[in-house]
């Protein structure tokens, strides 16, 4: 018999999603703060393997993962240094500092990585979680797959926004242990390099990436949607309007793609990740004037994605590509670019 329990910490309470039905065949897996899952798992595994004996951690981050590490590190009394590239939301930097992390703002991602390598060569006991390259990032999502299967039994499709690829590929991999047919739909930001588009600066945080993480397993992905920042913001407002859920922009983008997918596949059941509440965002979803000034306001969303047949096909709006579990190389992006 299962009884309700009292959790020992907000971290423990946040490690499993809550499931909310959005449509007959669409269920949202909502998280208080999803990045606590890999942050907790990676540190616990390092403790088990005695890689954290010195209690010193260093990571480069542009936001949520660093914040999650700072929360876990503070609870376990670890010394945490976070190297952030310029442009990270000041509200997030303040929260990291409040949790006792030593925050340093450097020029860009590359300088952060160079610095980590330099410091670790001097101090071998410095632990680097390395969320973009650590298989324990995606490996941490077994409990999420367990929860989905326990709550729903069969699932046909998993949809989620991608940054490191950890949550989508990790959960997808564990779900496919008992269902090879599971369709994995990745939602990327327009201007992100993850699925072969050229990098464009100025993306909203929380979705997409300017660098390529090895934790993203392209060959797991069946379908990719690219969503613009203004579309993601508008979709997040729509999620709030129709379901009363105030989630972040990556949730908004995933909501847009998943609602479309579920309506096109009425006989299939889909789960969509809503990784984060919007409360940590510096700019509110609802600040119309600020968003208009930044050219990020939309009143209406397109009802269908634009179908494209290659990652490099030009599009400035919500687009969809049948990725078909291909590798990134198979799209011959280098040749495309030079042509």
């Amino acid at each position: 018999m299962v009884t309700r329990v009292v959790h020992n910490s907000p971290i423990e309470a946040s490690l499993l999603p809550t499931f909310i039905r959005l449509a007959k065949n669409l269920v949202a897996a909502t998280f208080g703060f999803m990045k606590l899952i890999p942050a907790t798992f990676i540190l616990e595994q390092a403790e088990k393997d005695e890689r954290l004996k010195a209690g010193k951690i260093i990571e480069t981050t542009s936001g949520p993962f660093g914040l999650a590490l700072a929360i876990v590190a503070a609870q376990r009394n670890y010394s945490l240094t976070l190297l952030c590239p310029k442009g990270v939301d000041p509200a997030i930097l303040e929260q990291m500092a409040n949790l006792g992390a030593k925050v340093e703002v450097l020029l860009d991602q590359q300088e952060c990585i160079d610095q980590i390598q330099a410091r670790r060569s001097k101090d071998r006991e410095l632990f680097w979680p390395s969320q973009y390259h650590n298989p324990q990032n995606s490996g941490s999502y077994a409990g999420v797959a367990e929860a989905i299967l326990e709550a729903m039994g069969n699932v046909d499709c998993l949809i989620g926004a991608v940054g490191s690829g950890g949550s989508l590929c990790g959960t997808g991999k564990y779900l496919r242990l008992v269902g090879q047919d599971l369709r994995v739909v990745a939602v990327d930001a327009m201007g992100s390099v993850l699925f072969g588009k050229s990098s464009v600066p100025g993306r909203l945080p929380g979705m997409g990436n300017g660098v390529m993480p090895t934790t993203l397993e392209h060959r797991m992905v069946d379908e990719v949607h690219w969503v613009t920042s203004s579309e993601a913001l508008c979709a997040a407002r729509r999620l709030h309007k129709f379901h009363g859920m105030c989630m972040g922009t990556s949730s908004g983008a995933a909501f847009l793609a998943s609602s479309w997918w579920a309506s096109k596949n009425p006989d299939k059941t889909a789960v969509v990740f809503f990784p984060d509440h919007s409360s940590r965002l510096f700019t509110s979803l609802f600040c119309k004037e600020t968003l208009q000034a930044a050219d990020l306001w939309l009143d209406e969303l397109p009802s269908e994605p634009k179908e494209i047949s290659h990652p490099r096909e030009e599009s400035n709006r919500w687009s969809r590509l049948e990725w078909a579990r291909r590798s990134l190389n198979s799209w011959e992006l280098a040749r495309e670019a030079s042509e």
Binding site: M1, G139, A142, G143, E146, I148, L149, A151, G153, L177
Partner: protein, 320 residues
């Protein structure tokens, strides 16, 4: 009155006779056989610690019956033999100890109706029927948890055959990691022995499977689907769990022709394949409400013969 050595004192009191009769009640305990596991691996317990665990698949067509006759002498006699049934003998001693009768002895008879060479001889089945017989001899009723604790003490690792409801059981510590409060869903199984020469794993000598972190995590989705499958009484979900558990454990105790067996299950339209993780039997699982059931099971038996497994047994678990 002359007393001869070795003879009991004369009885001249009716109450004494009554007491002796009670003391010499024959205890009987039975336990159904099992057919390996539906799931075995490592799991998080309620404290967040990782522990070894399993879900046993009962095989209710075969049983062990134990009979125990207490005697005033401290010796324990076991039939067919104390050496062959040393774990059962240990279980009898531990049960006497548990019921505050340490130092007592008796006669323990063990009978098993499963055919020789089918790989169904289970030490836990002997152990559990013995514990039940000893307790019965003294009219003591033991809970499943108590039986489980004595069984694990008697044989280092035990399966969870003593529980009526489906449980995820810590086989080396002897406690229930998670109870599902209902039986397994109805399932039809075509079982066979992959190795008639298999003598069983000595849990004392055989090192337990050493799982890596990602293998340990992989058991979590299986546990989630198992729980849903039991809750919904859906054999299809349990079949998927069993197949993947068998696959994840194949490297620790390989089953011959395993890939062929999996393929056979898929082609025939079975819901899954289960294995004995420390034995040699394998079962192909079917949904009893499948209207093609008889045809599919017949096809399975024929295909297994082709693969070199001529002897099959058919059994059913769960109430319809």
């Amino acid at each position: 009155m002359e007393r001869h050595p070795g003879t009991a004192p004369p009885i001249n009191d009716e109450a004494q006779i009554e007491e002796m009769l009670i003391e010499t009640v024959l205890g009987v305990g039975t336990c159904e056989a099992h057919h390996g596991e539906l799931l075995q691996g490592m799991f998080y317990n309620n404290n967040g610690d990782i522990t070894r665990g399993l879900v046993t698949l009962p095989c209710p067509i075969f049983h062990t019956t134990a009979k125990f006759l207490p005697t005033p002498q401290p010796e324990l006699h076991v039939l067919p033999s104390k050496i062959a049934k040393r774990k059962a003998a240990r279980a009898a001693e531990l049960t006497l100890e548990f019921t505050q009768r340490q130092g007592s002895g008796g006669l323990l008879f063990l009978g098993n109706d499963s055919p020789e060479g089918w790989g169904l001889g289970s030490s836990t089945t002997d152990v559990v029927s013995t514990i039940r017989a000893v307790a019965d001899a003294f009219s003591i009723s033991l809970s499943s948890d108590e039986v489980a604790r004595i069984a694990v003490k008697a044989e280092v690792a035990s399966d969870s055959i003593m529980y009526a409801d489906a449980v995820l059981f810590a086989q080396r510590e002897g406690y229930v990691i998670e109870s599902y409060d209902r039986e397994l869903p109805p399932m039809e199984i075509v079982g066979f022995n992959t190795d008639p020469t298999f003598a069983g794993i000595d849990t004392l000598l055989h090192p337990p499977a050493n799982y890596s972190w990602d293998e340990i995590e992989a058991f979590r989705p299986l546990r989630g689907l198992l729980k849903r499958g039991i809750f919904d009484q859906d054999p299809n979900l349990i079949g998927k769990v069993a197949t993947e558990s068998a696959r994840l454990n194949q490297k620790f105790l390989p089953k011959p022709r395993f890939a062929d067996i999996l393929q056979l299950g898929e082609e025939i339209g079975a819901v899954g394949v289960q294995v004995a993780h420390s034995g040699s039997v394998v079962g192909i699982i079917f949904d009893p409400v499948d209207n093609q059931l008889t045809r599919k099971m017949a096809k399975a038996v024929a295909a297994l013969r082709q693969l070199g497994f001529p002897a099959c047994h058919r059994f059913r678990v769960g109430a319809i």
